[in-house]
């Protein structure tokens, strides 16, 4: 299992990367492995306001549906449209397959660095 150093992680298994004041958000390798084959994603729309700790969308695997919780509060400025028709990218490349980009971040849930998150996953 892969835990890139440059990312921050939530206890709900999302990852977050800050790029020039923009928060890029996806789900972790641990999350995609636990979900199994991802078959569908519901994304927010550009312009939507997100609230830290609340669902930004949901991901369906063959087995079940899970909410993706937003690590930040802010405004959606981009949605990864390529994911919608190729949602298996979340399984194949979870850290390349970003879901949304958020600007104007006002609030953030508690985040872990890679080492802490790896330890957290081992306990789970």
């Amino acid at each position: 299992m892969n835990f890139p150093e440059e990312l921050k992680y939530t206890s709900d298994h999302e990852w977050l990367k800050m790029e020039d004041g923009v928060a890029v958000i996806g789900i972790s390798d641990f999350a995609q492995d636990a979900l199994g084959d991802v078959v569908f994603i519901n994304c927010p729309e550009v312009g939507d306001e997100l609230t830290a700790g609340e669902a930004l969308g949901d991901i369906e695997s063959v087995k079940a549906v899970s909410d993706v919780l937003s690590p930040v509060s802010g405004k959606v400025v981009a949605v990864n449209e390529a994911l919608i028709d190729n949602v298996e990218m979340l399984n194949e490349d979870p850290y390349g397959a970003w879901i949304v980009k958020v600007e104007g971040v006002t609030d953030t849930v508690e985040l872990m660095n890679a080492a802490d998150y790896e330890a957290f996953c081992k306990e789970a």
Partner: protein
């Protein structure tokens, strides 16, 4: 919590990297590392192995076993010939299902009844007392031998290689015979729960289970877990007890004839005067017959039926979602997920698989009996009304050795 039960293949599943889950008190593989989608598609195009040793296997003997079975099972037991099997339902007094089962006439003097794993205790508590007034013996041999489902277009060839001749190719659907596989004697039945035109359930003694599993894997079969077992049966439109049978979302018992397969599984012969729930089942059957001619005059005896459903909007169906026609709720989704398929090329007899993968949101639902095939309905998918259609079938199994997706 009591400890989970394990089949004799438990260590084999763990060694293969399976994800194990609690299924009806059993620690079972839900999927192997390749995942449910790959396992589903491999079954449709090659051959998959499913450990179904967790299911209950009861041997029924004694001079009055046929009379007994005619009472406790819906099917025409007296007409079941040696070396054949039949789908049947264990009826309750109110015309609902205690369980669904498969009955195999394995020897002149004995039948084998295979029941759902999660219902073994309940079924035995129901079936054993009913046996007391008959000269019949029920012997639960689930711990003595196991079962592996060998399903898919390459299954016949693989098993014939182990048998050493080609007689298995002649076995009809629902056939069951003893075979010797490289010296290991076991029952092979041409039955299954995947919708595959070619598929077998093999019943090896405990000591032969691992041998058969490893031998078939060595020949190119792949293991598949409960996840793929569920997506395959859903695509085949086969009922699962607890979803399409038993208690509905409103807490009411579903009538047996709600499931279309009841037409083949329920008989009202003169050999079944004591059939449990017979009077109510005859009313359901009459309503079923009239409904199929679009005559709703007896609809109160069969108010809702199980149908196949496909979402036409983007989304995924799940059991428990409400189904609407206009403003009126007409029922519930009973099972649903996104199902993968290989896209096809050609029509009719020229149809063939390509290697391009598609997926479709399909499922089954329990809806008012005046909702018909082809009707447009709506489903409440997590607070949003999405469009869906009632369909005849998700799968076309008439082009052996392959089952092809029926697309709408």
């Amino acid at each position: 919590m009591s400890e989970l039960k394990r089949t004799k293949l438990y260590d084999t599943h763990v060694a293969a990297g399976a994800t194990m889950v609690d299924f009806g008190g059993w620690d079972m593989p839900v999927q192997y590392p390749e995942g449910i989608i790959a396992e589903h598609l491999f079954t449709r195009t090659h051959c998959s192995l499913f450990d179904v040793s967790h299911m209950g296997r009861i041997i029924v003997t004694g001079p009055e076993r046929v009379q007994y079975l005619e009472k406790v099972l819906t099917s025409d037991v007296s007409s079941l010939p040696l070396h054949k099997a039949q789908y049947c339902i264990i009826p309750a007094e109110d015309g609902s299902a205690v369980d669904d089962a498969y009955l195999y006439k394995i020897e002149e003097d004995r039948h084998m009844l295979v029941i759902n794993a999660g219902n073994i205790d309940k079924d035995k508590a129901w079936l054993y007392p009913l046996a007391e007034e008959f000269d019949v013996t029920l012997d639960d041999q689930s711990d003595v031998f196991g079962s592996i489902a060998v399903q898919g277009p390459e299954s016949t060839k693989m098993l014939m290689t182990l048998i050493g001749d080609e007689t298995l190719a002649e076995m009809p659907k629902n056939g069951v015979e003893y075979y010797s596989l490289e010296g290991h004697k076991m029952l092979i039945a041409r039955t299954g729960y995947t919708g595959e035109p070619l598929g077998y359930e093999v019943f090896p003694m405990n000591e032969d289970l691992k041998w058969l599993w490893d031998r078939l894997i060595g020949m190119g079969a792949k293991p598949a877990g409960l996840g793929a077992r569920d997506t395959l049966r859903m695509e085949a439109g086969m009922p699962l007890y607890g979803h399409e049978m038993g208690v509905d979302e409103d807490g009411k018992n579903m009538p047996i004839f709600a499931v279309g397969l009841a037409k083949f599984a329920v008989a009202f012969t003169e050999n079944k005067p004591q059939l449990i729930g017979r009077e109510i089942l005859e009313k359901q059957a009459s309503a079923f017959k009239l409904l199929s001619k679009k005559d709703n005059s007896e609809i109160e005896n069969l108010p809702r039926r199980i149908r196949n459903i496909q979402l036409t909007d983007r989304g995924v169906l799940r059991g428990g979602m409400a189904v609407f026609k206009g403003d009126k709720q007409v029922g519930w989704v009973t099972s649903g997920t996104m199902i993968p398929y290989y896209k096809t090329t050609g029509e009719g007899d020229d149809i063939a698989y390509t290697d391009e993968i598609g997926k479709r949101p399909i499922g089954m639902c329990y809806v008012d009996s005046d909702v018909l095939i082809g009707d447009e309905v709506e489903v409440d998918v997590r607070g949003k009304r999405l469009k869906a259609m009632i369909t005849k079938a998700h799968l076309n199994a008439s082009k052996a050795p392959y089952a092809f997706p029926a697309l709408h």
